[in-house]
Amino acid sequence: MIVPGVMLYQTGQASSRSSGQPRWGLLIDTNALNESDVDACVRACQREHGWNSVPDSKTDAQWIRKVKLTDPESGHERFLPMMCQHCEDPPCVDVCPTGASFKRQDGIVLVNKHTCIGCRYCMMACPYKARSFIHEVLKDQLAVAPRGKGTVESCTLCVHRIDRDGANALPACAEAVNQEGRKTIWFGDLNDPQSEISQRLKALGALKLRADMGLNPGIRYQGL
């Protein structure tokens, strides 16, 4: 911003909003989630994409993880699922030498497994530790999640479901915890002011992790 109201450049959200492109995002209500809900998110993602992580392994991939936060003063604890935040201005895309890290028009940040050379610079740049490097040979990968040794991967926001079902899609993590009458994770178009996720964001607000970095992540957290 140069002076109030005058921007040096307009961010992509404003332009994609006007072009009618959707921007897919998630709203996670950490007040409603308990520890077993977050575990269910992780298991659902593992089933959906065929990854597995041995406890305490430092090299296994983790597309989504359970984070436990404790307030050191009050001792209050809460649990939340942590994954690729699908930034509007993703540092991983900036630093990738070959352009293998890329952001789709609809805001989903992905890795092109054909041009990833395995340099791991994106992992150095990601403020959320969202990415994993494949440290060993993999077998029996699923068709929806092409994965292979020597490349980097992360949450795809269940892009295969979104490409199939559009706004009616539901990522596996959200599907695992949303029940009839008890919704905890909202998926939708952040660019559509009428969408449920936008309405809820407008009514209740939410936190962007590391908002100070100005990356405008597509994953938002309530109750932090």
Partner: protein
């Protein structure tokens, strides 16, 4: 002065067993390094100490050292060509050869550590110009081409007058190149250890010191192997330069940490490196500052050691030792310190959020790194064997 600029050069004509046993040993170690890289490539990186938390490790310490030293090794040629210091002219050819050799060694390590080294052609054909890494691919390959041309212009008498503009181009290129290397880290805004414009100039000053230290050692080694005359007056100049550059590195390290210490948000990180970081704190104070900066300064400037060759060799070796410690702290220490995603909370997760990340390098990555270093020395020693790079002698200067 006159005699200097018309120095005669000759291939190292050594038939001593010393030269050949060094060559054989270097070749063997380099081959072991490549075999080790091949093993990493087939098995995957789980056989290394690198993890999803510490994604860059020992290979990167070795590679960055060689790349930084490469640009610094060119300094002697730059001083001669760009700044017209005739005294340095006889050293210019070797300076160029060594800089290429070191860069090739460093790039070999970086390439072989990739998850998909077979995709070199992808790295050379797909460019994201917002990535400093992509720029570095161009800067590194461009450096080799420019310095090769510069070397040829210096060696071909008829083309001699072009060596000055070529030297100027090479000098500018190397400054940009080291800026690019420092910026690999300087541009990482998410991590407290990096995110500083100071890293670019600091890497340039580091390159001055590291490159010169390697240069001094290999110059003395090759002159000794071929029993050529190397007068003290030439070493005196290099000794003074080494002292100056080492002091400049120390200055940048002090300013870097003082700046970080001023802001409260970086206190945890500074406490980690300077006080409570275990191996990193030890490496910082004992190896980087103590053995890598202060002791070489003492060896260079102590009145009784002004003409001691062992002292100069020791100072150069210590500068290199300190360089490895410094790069280890920057590269590994910077990743060991946890990302601060949830300020104000105690964070726990299955992905090691909120804890200091451990890194224990394996033999494989160490061998890869050493293999790169020996490849670089091998290229330099072969270069001076097949081409007239080294002056026949560096006698006492006539004032």
């Amino acid at each position: 002065m006159k005699m200097q600029s018309s120095s005669r050069y000759a291939e190292i004509k050594t038939s001593t067993s010393g030269y050949w046993s060094i060559l054989v040993a270097l070749t063997l170690i380099a081959l072991i390094g490549f075999a080790s890289a091949h093993h990493m490539d087939t098995e995957g990186h789980h056989i290394t100490g690198m993890t999803n938390q510490v994604v860059w490790g020992l290979p990167h310490v070795f590679a960055i050292f060689l790349i930084v030293a490469a640009s610094g090794a060119l300094n002697l040629a730059s001083i001669a060509s760009v700044f017209d210091k005739q005294d340095y002219k006889p050293l210019a050819r070797f300076s160029a050869v060594l800089s290429i050799a070191l860069l090739v060694g460093g790039l070999a390590i970086l390439l072989l550590d990739l998850g998909r080294p077979d995709r070199l052609i992808v790295a050379m054909t797909y460019y994201n110009f917002k990535s400093i890494f992509a720029w570095n691919i161009i800067l590194y390959t461009g450096f080799i081409v420019i310095v090769l041309a510069y070397l040829w212009l210096m060696m071909e008498r008829r083309m001699h007058r072009w060596s000055k503009p070529a030297g100027l181009l090479a000098f500018a290129w190397r400054l940009i190149l080291t800026t690019g290397t420092g910026s690999i880290f300087g541009f990482l805004v998410a991590r407290e250890a990096y995110d500083s414009a100071l890293l670019a100039p600091m890497f340039i000053v580091m390159s001055f010191a590291f490159g010169l230290a390697v240069f001094i050692l290999l110059l003395m080694l090759s002159f000794r192997l071929d029993r050529r005359e190397l007068d003290d007056s030439h070493l005196q100049r290099l000794r003074k330069l080494l002292g100056l550059f080492t002091a400049a590195v120390l200055y940048f390290v002090i300013v870097f940490h003082l700046t970080k210490l001023y802001g409260t948000q970086n206190h945890d990180f500074e406490r980690f490196i300077l006080l409570e970081g275990g191996i990193y704190t030890l490496l910082f104070w004992l190896i980087q500052i103590g053995l890598g900066n202060l002791l070489p300064l003492a060896l260079v400037y102590a009145p009784g050691l002004q003409h001691s060759r062992p002292a100069l060799v020791a100072a150069s070796l210590l500068v290199i030792l300190g360089a490895f410690a410094q790069l280890y702290i920057i590269i590994v220490g910077g990743q060991a310190f946890p990302l601060n995603i949830f300020p104000g909370y105690i964070v726990e997760s299955s992905f090691f959020d909120g804890v200091v990340n451990e890194y224990a390098p394996s033999l494989w990555e160490f061998l890869l790194g050493i293999g790169g270093v020996t490849s670089a020395i091998l290229i330099a020693l072969l270069g001076i064997r097949v081409l007239p790079i080294m002056p026949e002698s560096l006698p006492e200067e006539t004032p």
